[in-house]
Amino acid sequence: MSNYDAIIVGAGHNGLVCATLLAKAGKRVLVLEANASEGGLGASREFHEGFQVPMAHGAASFSSTVLKDLNLAGEGLSFSDALPTVGLSEDGNHVSVVGDSVTGALEADAAAYPAYRAKLKRYAKVLKSIWESTLPRLGAGGLAESLVYAKGALNVRMLGRDDMGEFVRVLTLPMRDLIDEVFEDPKLQGLLSWDGVIGNKMAPRSPNNAVLPLLLRMNGLHDGDHCVPNGGMNALNEALLSAAKKAGVTIRFDAPVAKFIIEGDENGQRATGVELASGEALEASTIVSSADPKTTFMKLVGTRHLDIQFTNRINRLRADGMVAKYHAALSELPKINGLDDLGGRLLIAPTFDAIEFAYDDAKYGEASEHPVMEITFPSLQDPSLAPDGKHVMSVNVMYAPYKEKSGWSDAARSAFLGRVVETLEKYIPGISSLVIAQELLTPADLEAEYHAYGGHWHHGELSLEQALMMRPTYYAAQYNTPIPGVYLCGAGAHPGGGMTGLPGRNAAREILK
């Protein structure tokens, strides 16, 4: 007999959330993590001796429902207030946004902002029940299924007729169209585009799906405003780990899973356990994967156990990452002309076109000539990340295509690093002289180190055809999969990526049904 009811693959935040909820419901749960510590794409990373950075450096998306369900406050977890997002300007006239307040932009734009934000907040609220539910399988007509849509539809109706129309209209707009019908200030336009496109293969002009990811982020702690846990991002990982352990979850690190054990007879197939890369086999009748869907199905399940058209849909999932991560160890905090507080998040995305043109290069397999960026100084919230007086800088860099056309040759890599540093220097003069050590992680590196196909933020594009009851694709969009006993609980499942905790929570609820 097996020692465990459920094995969770991956100790990223979603794996830990799922494991904890299952254990709280009385299941015996084992988490197997390939890496030496928890957190996945949100892990803490020592990139130079004595210097650490959080991979995901903002917790804006985290779901308050998950906080409650796991009682993470009981683990001592709390979050900062909303922190400003600053659009850096070379001339020192930066634009800054937090809450309803906009400073440094055209007055008319600042005046229009609260109403714009209020509207998006209303829409984010409408979607709350959608993010927190298992969406019905396409074509399934049961009562429970209909109720989920009915609830969503009711929320939409509650908006009133005009607002309802407006909601449906803006839902599929490109970021540029959403924004430039209200705002004229180029710096503000660039800044407000950011959260609609980051992580996806998208720029402000791209159609498909920018508003939904923005609204998913706004479902988080401060209506989309940047924030971090008090004590830094790692406080979240530690709280999740501690909650899991308290609930009785067993966690094994350095335990990469090579494949799922799938047995079959005349009654069909089912998962009975996993085999580690070491060859060790572990039994459980429920296997929950927080690895991305491509890795889960193509590698861990194996296509021979899956239907052919399903396999080909998985194989064709769009999941090529676009974001690189740059880390620097700094001898001291830089000084930025016109900006006193570096505790927020700083963007180098001065116009719509700055983002758009950076994206254009990536469309053809080139890392951006003029990259755009999101910068934080995590050591401000968590001084333990760097030796006394020293600091770390964490930068999300767009666009860095996973399939860079030279295959990320040394030359391409160092040229891109050069452009990143050059750009930073332009906006933060003197920064390069403060750098003690640095690293650039391309999506290919992220894939190798964090085991997410394509190094993708969301474990797969959060695009319309891969969203909602299509995430990651039909017949695997309700957390269960075509293989009895195998479930998905990571960012590749509904509602998607970012540090929300929702895929892990929803999956646990589905498994416990």
Binding site: G264, D265, G268, I308, N312
Partner: protein
């Protein structure tokens, strides 16, 4: 200005039908110029007369050019696993030098195509089927690293040699031991420095063999076979005659009895193997194959229709007939997919899709027929047949009878 036309070039080169390796002989023998097309090949509907060619198959022997049939080599350590997941039959049970009839379905359990598979070695299979399947095979191989798929259709010359005297002719041709080859067995013979594969297979329900050689040896094989068959009335037969023979044998035909699932527009216009009454090819004991879940669900829910063999009163062929539960045509219960007057069993036969719940009750066919351009209608009562209409003992006898 002069237009740069190259009059010497064939402007329609890409549009013209390909010729099989046997064409130099076929064109001489096709007295009626009755050409058709199959997978881009010029292909005979009949050579002289369909009925005459049909009787050649039933009474002596006929050659049917199956070069246009699609042939794929599937090789490598993963070949068996890849095929086993694609097709509904259990490939692990197919021994080397054996052939089996099978089909494959989409994820929804709807039949994409049927065909035969030859196990030429532990890790080597040849799959044959009516329509090009390269795309589906490529999709089916995704995730299998050690399998190669080669379309050998154009590189292979193949003849289906069918009829009660075929074994005799092959013996004459020098194929030693051929009389011991059992149904669905494979033998190989050295031929002109290459290998001739002979399988005891066919699409006529009669004794018969299929002969496979590299394309460039096609004519040589033809001439040797015809030399050996001269005294046995060897004749070329076309599509028309084979279609008659296969219907008597109860075998299904694409575009008549079934639509290939990937090509239908309406989701109810394709069929599952259960509906096509070839459930014997669906091995639910296998833990997984493509469409298994869907087929199980269909089985549980009950079939919409099932392909049924009908013996119809009278002699008016029930082509395109609609079936009813009563003579008064009140309840529509199915439709005929293929029909003919069967010379071998002297009966008016048909394959038809029938709603299963009506199988035990009266089945009436509404038949339209013509007399000198004038249409008439009649109602004919149908009897369900379980066995193939024509299944002569000599077809399965080993060694076959000596002539």
């Amino acid at each position: 200005m002069t237009l740069n036309t190259t009059s010497s070039e064939d402007r329609f080169a890409g549009e013209r039908l390909k010729r099989t390796p046997f064409y130099p002989r076929l064109k001489e023998l096709n007295l009626r110029e009755a050409w058709d097309e199959w997978n881009g090949y010029k292909f005979a509907d009949h050579f002289y007369d369909t009925d005459y060619e049909y009787f050649c198959i039933r009474n002596q022997c006929g050659t049917y050019d199956i070069t246009p049939m699609q042939k794929h080599l599937i090789e490598g350590p993963d070949a068996e696993a890849m095929l086993n997941r694609m097709v509904t039959r259990d490939m692990t049970k197919l021994r080397v030098n054996r052939v089996t009839y099978l089909c494959w379905c989409d994820d929804g359990g709807r039949m994409i195509d049927d065909g035969t598979i030859f196990r030429l070695g532990e890790e080597k299979f040849m799959l044959t089927c009516g329509s090009p399947s390269n795309a589906w095979l490529a999709k089916s191989a995704v995730g299998f690293d050690n399998v190669t798929i080669t379309d050998i259709t154009d590189d292979t010359a193949a003849i289906a040699f069918q009829g009660p005297v075929t074994c005799e002719v092959l013996k004459k041709m020098g194929l030693e031991g051929i009389e011991n080859l059992k149904r669905f067995g494979i033998m190989t013979f050295p031929f002109e420095g290459e290998t001739m594969i002979v399988s005891r297979t066919g699409f006529t329900g009669d004794l018969g063999y299929e002969l496979w050689v590299p394309a460039e040896l096609g004519l040589k094989m033809w001439d040797k076979l015809y030399a050996a068959g001269e005294d046995y009335g060897i004749q070329p037969v076309g599509e028309g005659a084979v279609n008659m023979a296969r219907l008597e044998a109860g075998l299904i035909m694409p575009y008549l009895d079934f639509s290939e699932a990937l090509k239908t527009v309406h989701y109810k216009h394709d069929q599952s193997p259960l509906m096509l009454n070839i459930g014997f090819t669906v091995d639910f004991k296998k833990p997984h194959f493509n469409g298994r879940e869907a087929l199980l669900a269909e089985k549980e829910k009950g079939l919409d229709y099932i392909l049924t063999k009908l013996d119809i009163e009278g002699n008016k062929v029930a082509e395109e007939a609609i079936l009813y539960a009563e003579e008064e045509c009140k309840t529509e219960i199915g439709y005929v997919t293929s029909a003919m007057w069967s010379p071998a069993v002297k009966a008016n036969i048909a394959l038809a899709m029938v709603k299963p719940e009506y199988l035990e009750k009266e089945i009436w066919a509404e038949i339209y027929f013509y007399k000198e351009l004038r249409p008439y209608r009649k109602m004919a009562i149908c009897t369900v047949r379980d066995k193939p209409f024509y299944m002569p003992p000599h077809a399965s006898q080993t060694p076959p009878a000596i002539f």
